[in-house]
């Protein structure tokens, strides 16, 4: 079974698709359980699944509340593949995904590299307060910023990972800080919101996102979005299923598979659009 945090988000939907496709290719039955971003729903989902004699649990935890679920599954002798959300060593057979703290660090390193030491003022749109991915990415960013004194963060506000909600927030920030050179967004949804805000205020500004969702890629291709980070959700899903096959076959798998990310700009966007 694959318990995913939410398929309403394209990122996780793609991951689920990867799981589905690979399972079909390998001849596995897979149940996809959508927790709709609610940990209680995920707990219920997995508990329900565990009553059905599943062989492997692939889980993309909504948050750390998924840890006891993994333990429970392991306790029943069911291997657990943690996708994208790390459930801490010992609670999972293998982890496949990216690391949000690292992602935050990489974002700043990348942005600094585009500046070449030139000073730059930026705004940051963070995700839903308390959402682990957002808090981790912020951690990575905050840890890396001191290395680049030329980057000045004017303000950091939450856009709730949501396009419609980040739009007014971005407008307000742009109004207050017209001098900003870039808005760094912790996901593509907010990048699209920021993009709409900039266009409503007739401003051209560098906007970066994360996730490389199809419409973000389209915006990058049209030169509207400065950059988005391509995480490989589809591959995360596929490798998860491959690892599951290996484990069932009694083979050893890598315990921590950190996937590479790509910085997608107008130059290389072609490779990422299907």
């Amino acid at each position: 079974a694959f318990s995913v945090s939410t398929t309403s988000n394209p990122f996780y939907a793609t991951m689920a698709q990867g799981v589905k496709d690979e399972a079909a290719a390998l001849g596995f039955d897979v149940i996809i359980l959508d927790a709709q971003n609610k940990i209680e729903k995920q707990v219920a989902d997995v508990e329900d699944a565990l009553t059905k004699n599943i062989k492997v649990l692939l889980i993309n935890g909504v948050d750390d509340g998924a840890i006891p679920l993994a333990q429970k599954a392991l306790g029943k002798g069911i291997p657990v593949m943690a996708l994208q959300r790390n459930l801490n060593p010992g609670n999972m057979t293998a982890f496949i995904g990216t690391n949000n703290v690292v992602l935050g660090e990489q974002l700043i390193h990348w942005y600094a590299s585009t500046l070449g030491g030139r000073p730059s003022k930026v705004l940051i749109l963070t995700g839903t307060p308390g959402a682990a991915s957002s808090e981790d990415r912020i951690k990575g960013i905050n840890a890396t910023l001191p290395k680049y004194p030329n980057i000045q963060v004017l303000a950091s506000q939450t856009g709730y990972y949501d396009r419609a909600k980040s739009l007014p927030v971005a407008e307000n920030m742009l109004l207050r800080f017209p001098e900003a050179e870039a808005i760094l967004c912790l996901n593509d949804e907010m990048a699209m919101g920021a993009l709409a805000a900039a266009s409503s205020m007739n401003k051209r500004i560098k906007i970066t996102g994360m996730d490389a969702n199809p419409d973000a890629l389209k915006a990058v291709a049209e030169g509207k979005l400065y950059m988005t980070i391509a995480l490989p959700p589809y591959d995360i899903g596929r490798i998860g299923v491959q690892f599951a096959r290996d484990v069932l076959a009694g083979k050893q798998v890598q315990a921590m598979k950190i996937m590479d990310v790509n910085f997608v700009t107008e130059k290389n966007v072609g490779q990422f659009r299907k």
Binding site: Q157, A164, P168, M192, S200, E222
Partner: protein, 317 residues
């Protein structure tokens, strides 16, 4: 006459009392932040509150009949996704927008029919609507947003007329129209009557079911209109947008002095309520308040605002 003037004043305050609150909040914001009281920012705030106000105008009617509509957020998503699919298919923004609004009307009719004639509590009907419309939006889009950087539909969100943004113009027209409907027409009177005392309205020969049905249809259409504006503003339609819009809209309506128990409320109040919420959000962004702390502060300020409102009304009455 002493009698008349006193009751006149108290009516004024109960209608316009929340203006005092709005004033105080605006004052505080402009003291705390220089950029607040600038024309571009005020236009900005007006544009930002437009979507919520359009939805809340319809919600006001629904709440006055002692109903509620929890499905507005999902309906924003559904109507804009349908509209965008049609625009993508036909290239005609007009066709897309009209279909979008019709979808809104249809969803409203669905809600309304169950509320009015099956006698199911509005909370349950529209909660079911919330999940159904969201599900349909996700199914028809396959869960992915549709983005489109060209087309006339964008004018709805991004255009301007004589310097006034189109969303603001739409909002003003909606507010004026709905105010007129509520205060100057037989329908408006019936809306108040049904919410005030359903049984007495029925016994007075009012078709209670029809009135309820109509307010939901209207609410659905306005919600869809808001969806069109949002689609224009974002140049995209997204199946999971609009989450939490229902709480925003209901809070707006109640902040504006409309009672959840029905029978009372005004569109002006709702407009003021929308601005109170909009200015709070705007101010906090301008001051770049920390996200966690912002939540606490916003809650407290809303409570204080309502307390102030009570105080002003009591003082004057």
């Amino acid at each position: 006459m002493k009698m008349l003037s006193r009751s006149g004043l108290s009516m004024f305050m109960s209608r316009y009392g929340s203006f005092g609150v709005l004033f105080v909040i605006s004052l505080a914001m402009s003291l705390a932040n220089k950029s607040f009281l600038t024309l571009p920012n005020l236009v900005n705030v007006a544009r930002q509150v437009s979507i919520n106000t359009i939805i809340s105008a319809g919600m006001t009617f629904i709440i006055i009949t002692a109903g509620i509509d929890l499905s507005v957020g999902s309906l924003v998503a559904l109507s804009s996704c349908v509209a965008m699919i049609i625009i993508e298919a036909t290239g005609s923004s007009l066709l897309g927008i009209c279909t979008g609004i019709l979808i809104g009307g249809a969803a409203g009719a669905f809600n309304g029919a169950f509320v009015a004639w099956a006698g199911i509590p509005p909370f349950i009907v529209t909660l079911a609507g919330l999940t159904i419309y969201r599900g349909i939006a996700l199914i028809i889009t396959g869960g992915t947003p549709i983005i489109r950087f060209e087309g006339g539909f964008r004018a709805l969100g991004q255009g301007a007329l004589l310097g006034i943004p189109v969303p603001v113009i739409i909002m003003l027209i909606v507010v004026l129209f709905m105010h007129f409907l509520l205060t100057r027409t037989a329908f408006g009177t019936h809306v108040y009557s049904v919410g005030g005392n359903e049984e007495a309205s029925r016994l007075s020969g009012i078709k209670v079911g029809k009135v309820k049905f109509q307010v939901y249809v209207m609410g659905g259409m306005l919600t869809a209109l808001a969806g069109m504006v949002l689609m224009g503003r974002l140049s995209s339609a997204q199946p999971n947008t609009g989450e939490g819009f229902e709480l925003d809209a209901i809070a707006t309506v109640i902040l504006g002095g409309t009672s959840l128990m029905g029978g009372r409320g005004t569109i002006w109040g709702t407009l003021v309520g929308a601005f109170i919420i909009g200015i709070l959000n705007n101010g906090f962004n301008l001051m770049a308040v920390d996200a966690h702390f912002q939540l606490v502060a916003k809650g407290i300020i809303i409570l204080l605002a309502v307390l102030l409102d009570r105080y002003l009304k009591r003082k004057q009455a």
